[in-house]
């Protein structure tokens, strides 16, 4: 079924009787060419691109719960490609380009909204670093714009420029950055993959890998064995747990990152803004809620919830730059599990086990990467060669000393 405004009107006039399920609910087949573990954004995107771009239709996505129930449904919805390093920037720029055509590609309005993202500058050292980054972005074909405090004040008139402990000295903007309706990304990819013949199998938990003579033959699941030519893991938040079933240890620690939403408010923030002297970033959803977050709680956790010190730290940042927000109310807080890698950058690679592939370690940046991650993973699975923009996301980079460390924090995951 094709979605369109006309269709909405037709269905409305005929009592909405014609809408069909967005995806089927098939039982698992005995064997697939490719089994993707994880019905989150990355897994579903991988399935979509495998089917649509690489002609692979004998594909299943298996999900232990309901699709879109992991980090794709619990993030702060930001998209951007404002990276510094050559290992990252081309990849995220490809992602941003895919976002730009996503709705037409999927025939699903994920509300990709390029309302701009702005990182505030509070010191000369920070400005130097942001200029270097902005130049790297432009040299990689992305857009970047250095704004003066006056420029910023025009766009955010209620910003604290009169009494700030750390005065705002400008900002680095990426006008093509923005936000996307996160749940719709999972649903749009799922619907499209399903349309291309991919089986999306919910409530199917992987309990083990069947590995024979160093070759992965399929997965044991709560719904029985499913044979596979290739098994692709994309289970952000559960990477270490899943891969331990294949006796792998990963360069990953799982941490909790809290996020927050305010009550619905009439338009306040036109774009995404990031405080450079504290831990706070914020945007406003189309529904009117301020969606904001800050730093990791800082300790390993699979609890999907955090604690008060981080809540307070984030809100201190909020009222420091937007004193007006004191009277807005925080409605809901939640935590997601971040698979923090040892250099802050992800892994999209084969494992040492034939037929077993891995995609993970996205830290808190996985959402914006969803299209490119799906595309690059699909490329790797279909062609057995890394996509050029993801060529640096190798397992062996740590052993070889080829880290991609945007923040320069080294092998301590909670600092990335």
């Amino acid at each position: 079924m094709r979605y369109s405004g006309l269709r909405v009107i037709k269905e409305a006039l005929s009592g909405h009787k014609g809408w069909t399920p967005a995806w089927r609910e098939p039982d698992p087949a005995a064997h697939y060419d490719i089994v993707i573990i994880g019905g989150g954004g990355h897994g579903l995107a991988t399935a979509h691109y495998l089917a649509q771009e690489f002609g692979q239709a004998r594909v299943a996505v298996i999900e232990k719960g309901w699709i879109g129930g992991g980090n794709v449904g619990r993030n702060t919805t930001i998209i951007r490609s404002n990276y510094l390093l050559d290992g990252n920037e081309p990849f995220y720029e490809m992602s941003l380009k895919l976002w730009e055509g996503l709705e037409q590609d999927l025939n699903y309005n994920a509300m990709v909204s390029q309302r701009g993202i702005l990182n505030l500058i509070h010191s000369d050292g920070q400005r130097d670093a942001f200029i270097r980054r902005g130049n790297a972005m432009i040299l990689n074909g992305a857009d970047a714009d250095l704004l003066s405090t006056a420029d910023i004040k025009k766009r955010y008139p209620f910003l604290n420029t009169h009494d700030a402990r750390f005065p705002i000295k400008g900002g680095l903007a990426q006008h093509r950055g923005g936000t996307v309706r996160h749940d719709a990304v999972a649903w749009g990819y799922a619907r499209s993959a399903d349309k291309h013949g991919v089986d999306i199998i919910q409530n199917c938990e992987v309990t083990g890998f069947r590995i024979e003579d160093g070759v992965c033959k399929g997965v044991e699941t709560s719904r029985g064995f499913i044979g596979a030519g290739k098994v692709a893991c994309a289970v952000a938040g559960n990477s270490s747990r899943l891969m331990s079933l294949a006796n792998m240890r990963l360069p990953i620690e799982s941490h909790v990152l809290q996020a927050f939403v305010s009550e619905g408010l009439k338009p306040v923030l036109p774009g995404v803004i990031t405080f450079g002297a504290g831990h706070f970033y914020c945007s406003q959803s189309d529904k009117g809620g301020l969606v904001f977050g800050g730093d990791l709680d800082g300790y390993n956790s699979y609890a999907q919830r955090g604690n008060l010190p981080t809540v307070e730290d984030v809100c201190e940042g909020a009222v420091a730059i937007f004193p007006m927000l004191g009277r807005a109310r925080l409605l809901r807080m939640w935590g997601g599990i971040m698979d923090m890698s040892m250099d802050g950058s992800p892994i999209i690679d084969k494992t040492h086990i034939d037929g077993l592939y891995f995609n993970g370690g996205w830290c808190y940046g996985g959402f914006k990467a969803t299209p490119a991650s799906g595309f690059a993973f699909a490329h790797l699975l279909a062609k057995d060669a890394p996509h050029p923009t993801a060529a640096a996301y190798r397992f062996d980079r740590f052993e070889k000393g080829l880290m991609i460390d945007e923040k320069g924090m080294g092998n301590q995951p909670n600092l990335h």
């Binding site: 010191s123 408010l265 008060l308």
Partner: protein
């Protein structure tokens, strides 16, 4: 201005009249009213508009679960959007206005959405607005955004103050209804430290809204007496107007006390609210239960509310919402509302879908009947009822109470991911999987009778505190069983609201099911059910039940709802506390701060430190003039700079040298006493972590410095190595950053200045370059002197105990007057270090190796040191690795800005041809042109090469020459002078 719906009774203070305005009209109410009860007393039912369809709405509840009656409270900078009229305590002078409307509240132009509702079903926006692609941001989204949202912020700074506080207790009791009060009394009499918190301004919970007696007193009076007894006990802290918002790890609860929200403006010195962190051993959740509505067509008109809300308005606030009132209930509790209202003189009729509904003597009960529709544009006028025999009857009513049963208020039991379980008898979820230390009592646990709540509360306190004595005697109270037949929505209803705030109807739930969004998480996300400011407190279970029925599953099979903190929305300002404006972070002031202020210094934030950036003199109009002067004066005569902010640590013990050998990549074992040495620290991954100096004051005593930025993290790292890696080395560490005031005195006349202050011989022979010593100054004050130089000049760093820092800077300035000693700030410091080619944070950016910095040979392979093994990985030792170089413009008038990238002179400009980047740049007044430090691929072999330096971001594209990073005195003659 008549309170035409005011009836007798209630716990309002009729002697105190409060005037207030709503949408510009003035009304009167009484102390003890809420804004909602006062408006209802005045006959005002219409208080807001719904989120999507802009349907007219009035209060649906009398509490914090309210979805509809949201207003802008107060005005100007104190405007609070989305404030529930049902919990807003009335005060004299209160002003409120309605929100989320275009036009007036009674004539909202956006109500057109309601007419278009057939097109605006759940998730319609995912299916359209895709063409043309560019129209989403430009056309559709702005329209949607303006229509969406609820209230509006003021766009002015919040003028109020918020405090944070910490409380400790043995037992925290959440909710002061019958269960909470009995728990409190039991605990208090045992001598335990008790905190009793309730969100309401009047403790007592449902007892305030009910008519039945406890022992021989009215429930509300019994509660009031008990509250006053508790208030007089020293081990009890009562926190009314305090919402416990979240259950966090290890018995830590967040609570918000609304200190001043019930007065027009906070009294002088009082905060608006306090965010408490309560540390408790045990917790009893006695948060009661929430009545849920029934869905039928047009069940959202002003005047339609939960039956218990009608009871609260009548019994507690003395308000009859309608003189004719209908009750639609599937359980016996709804009949109690009818009886109470009838007793107050309200004309009542009961509609109960149960064929065996209890009968009443004094009013009509329509058993086996259902409300199928309602009428009334801005407020309820008629209800249409389908009788047991299938015929319809129109009933005139100004109020309609619905009761679909009660949901135990399990919210806080879910905060640590406990999942409530389904109880068939109650047809409701009850707590399961509690946070450690929490027990639940009363209606929150599913004990719905008053007697059950009283006994449950006492029992909970008894076991939580492990009390040995006898239980308190229980007062007499009603003990009616729960009698309910689940009934969620009227068959055939479609425009029947499940979530009133977000306009989610039965039809939307059906569509969600039809399109495959069938799990609770999908249902919520697709329809927005439960996503409003009330977080679905009255809506979630109904939506879940309808989905269960459609899917042919039980309710628990569809899922449970997951509640997350906060229990009710909390002002962001309360979490922010006083950390805003200048108080966002603490300010660390250097020992010379006061003196520098006197000199008119310009300060800059360096982490939490405030450092003098430059010292402008009269006549200087740009910062560059001041900085150039400070640099030249230092290089030509002498300058002084406060360098206290550098991290300092004392390392002592017989194994101190061995310890330093481990943490620095270069060697320290052979450093003689009386000498300092530059040290480079690597992280274990082989990347440079920090640099500084280590000075050997004695065989077993080193003084180590770090960069300002890394003072904390380096010290932490040193302690890690000491405690975790070499626990038995004889070495002790202490951070001395704040113990010593330290000044750099630099320039050819530096020694002459210090000779006037230092008591010992500091001639070049006695105190050569890199010497260090414990000395005295000014005739006996203990001090430390280091002959180290960041500027490249003949320089000393002199340290005295911090308390003497201010005196020392004044003494140095006096001693240097004859040499025109010049104080310099961080800018001049930066210029001189770039001229000298010294690295700082811009170069040690967490990705650079010792080799990148040109110090590869310092990494000793003769000893173990942190980072040495991994620094040898191939990826960190490639032939074309970055090397630190100097950069100067070919045309000396051109800048060479930091952040610009280096390209081959005649090659393409793009990432694939990127050769490196400038890390630090400045104008060198000594050289008369800009200079910079850069990292350049294979830089050592490219000295003299002409390259192109580009910064497309800032429109820079200049030809530059690669040179040595040591622009000034490359042989180091000055610093040895």
């Amino acid at each position: 201005m008549t309170q035409k719906n005011r009836i007798t009774g209630g716990q309002i203070d009729r002697n105190t009249t409060c005037k207030f305005t709503f949408d510009g009209r003035t009304y009167a109410g009484h102390a003890g009213d809420t804004l909602a009860s006062a408006l209802l007393a005045n006959g005002v039912r219409l208080m807001g508009r719904s989120f999507k369809y802009h349907r007219p709405r009035g209060p649906m509840t009398a509490g914090s679960d309210e979805p509809n009656a949201l207003v802008h409270l107060r005005s100007g900078a104190r405007t609070e959007p989305n404030t529930r009229a049902t919990t807003t305590e009335l005060f004299d002078g209160l002003t409120a206005t309605s929100q989320n409307r275009l036009g007036s509240l009674s004539f909202d132009l956006l109500a057109v959405n309601d007419r278009l509702s057939t097109f605006l079903t759940a998730g319609f926006y995912y299916k359209t607005f895709m063409w043309p692609a560019a129209f989403w941001e430009k056309v559709y989204e702005p329209i949607i955004r303006r229509a969406a949202g609820l209230g509006a912020l003021s766009f002015e700074d919040d003028p109020d103050v918020y405090d944070k506080g910490f409380l400790h207790c043995d037992l925290l009791i959440i909710g002061a209804g019958p269960a909470g009060l009995m728990a409190a009394l039991t605990a208090a009499r045992s001598g335990a430290e008790v905190i009793l918190a309730d969100e309401d301004f009047r403790m007592g919970g449902r007892l305030n809204s009910e008519t039945y007696a406890i022992d021989d007193a009215a429930g509300a009076d019994w509660a009031a007496a008990l509250v006053s007894e508790l208030a007089n006990m020293p081990n009890v802290r009562l926190l009314p107007r305090t919402t416990v918002i979240g259950a966090f790890d290890h018995g830590i609860y967040g609570a918000l006390e609304r200190v001043s929200d019930h007065v027009a403006t906070p009294d002088a010195g009082k905060p608006r609210q306090i965010l408490w962190r309560i540390y408790t051993q045990k917790t009893i959740l006695a948060a009661g239960a929430i009545e849920r509505p029934i869905a039928f067509n047009n069940n959202d008109r002003p005047g339609i509310m939960t039956a218990s809300a009608l009871r609260s308005y009548a019994n507690r606030f003395g308000v009859a919402v309608g003189q004719r009132t209908a009750i639609f209930t599937n359980n016996d509790d709804g009949h109690r509302t009818a009886a109470d209202l009838h007793a107050k003189g309200v004309k009542v009729i009961v509609i109960d879908p149960r064929a065996d509904a209890p009968r009443a003597r004094d009013y009509e009960v329509l058993a086996g009947a259902q409300v199928v529709d309602t009428m009334g544009r801005l407020g309820l006028t008629f209800a249409k009822v389908c009788l047991a025999d299938g015929t319809e009857r129109i009933i005139e009513c100004g109020a309609l109470g619905t009761s679909g049963g009660w949901n135990p208020n399990v919210h806080l039991t879910c905060h640590q991911r406990g999942r409530p379980s389904w109880n068939e008898t109650l047809a409701a979820f009850v707590p399961d999987g509690l946070p450690a230390g929490m027990t639940v009592a009363g209606a929150a646990k599913g004990d719905m009778s008053t007697a059950g709540a009283l006994a449950g509360g006492a029992q909970a306190a008894h076991s939580a505190l492990d009390l040995k004595g006898r239980m308190l005697a229980m007062p007499k109270a009603e003990d009616a069983p729960v009698n309910i037949t689940p009934f969620w929505y009227v068959e055939g209803a479609s425009r029947a609201w499940v979530d009133q705030q977000n306009d989610v109807t039965v039809k939307d739930v059906k569509l969600s099911h039809q399109e495959g969004f069938r799990s609770v998480e999908h249902l919520k996300r697709y329809t927005t059910l439960g996503m409003g400011t009330d977080q679905g407190k009255t809506a979630n279970i109904g939506g879940l039940a309808i989905m269960a029925e459609l899917a042919g599953k039980t309710i628990p099979e569809v899922g449970t709802t997951m509640f997350r903190p906060p229990y009710t929305p909390v002002a962001i300002g309360a979490f922010g506390g006083r950390h805003r404006g200048q108080d966002f972070h603490p300010k660390r002031l250097t020992p010379s701060h006061k003196w520098a202020e006197e000199q008119g210094a310009v300060f800059v934030e360096v982490g939490n430190w405030m450092r003098a950036q430059w010292f402008p003199r009269e006549g200087e109009t740009t910062w560059r003039e001041s900085v150039d002067r400070e640099v030249l004066a230092t290089r030509n005569s002498v300058g002084v700079c406060d360098v206290t902010t550098l991290g300092k640590a004392d390392v002592q013990g017989a194994d101190a040298a061995a310890f330093l050998n481990l943490i620095y990549c270069n060697g320290f074992a052979k450093l003689p006493v009386g000498k300092a040495r530059y040290g480079l620290m690597l992280r274990e991954d082989g990347i440079a972590m920090d640099d500084g100096t280590a000075a050997r004051m004695a065989h077993d005593h080193f003084v180590v410095t770090t960069t300002t930025a890394n003072a904390l993290s380096v010290y932490r790292h040193m302690e890690f190595v000491r405690q975790c890696l070499v626990p038995d080395l004889d070495v002790q560490l202490i951070s001395t950053t704040e113990s010593w005031a330290q000044y750099a005195v630099a320039g050819p006349n530096a020694r002459r200045v210090l000779e006037k202050i230092v008591d010992q011989d500091i001639s070049n022979a006695a105190f050569p370059f890199m010497a260090c010593a414990n000395i005295t100054v000014c005739g006996g004050l203990r001090a430390r002197l280091f002959r180290i130089s960041f500027s490249g000049e003949l320089a000393f760093e002199i340290a005295v105990p911090t308390a003497y820092g201010d005196a020392l800077i004044r003494r140095i300035m006096a001693a240097g007057a004859e040499f025109d000693i010049t104080p310099y700030g961080t800018e001049a410091l930066g210029v001189m270090r770039i001229e000298k080619g010294h690295a700082t944070g811009n170069e040690l950016n967490g990705t650079t190796t010792a080799a990148n910095l040109g110090m590869g040979r310092m990494v000793s392979d003769k000893k173990d040191s942190i980072g040495s093994v991994l620094s040898r990985r191939e990826g960190l030792n490639r032939a074309d690795d970055l090397r630190a170089v100097g950069v100067k413009p070919v045309d000396p008038t051109q800048p060479v800005p930091a952040g610009a990238h280096l390209m081959i002179s005649d090659g393409p400009v793009n990432a694939a041809h990127d050769q490196g980047y400038v890390t630090s740049a400045c104008y060198s007044p000594n050289l008369g042109h800009h200079i910079a430090l850069a990292f350049l691929k294979n830089g050592d072999d490219r000295i003299g090469e002409t390259m192109r330096l580009v910064s497309p971001l800032t429109d820079v594209d200049v030809q530059v020459e690669i040179c040595s990073a040591h622009f000034i005195d490359p042989k180091g003659e000055r610093l040895r002078a």
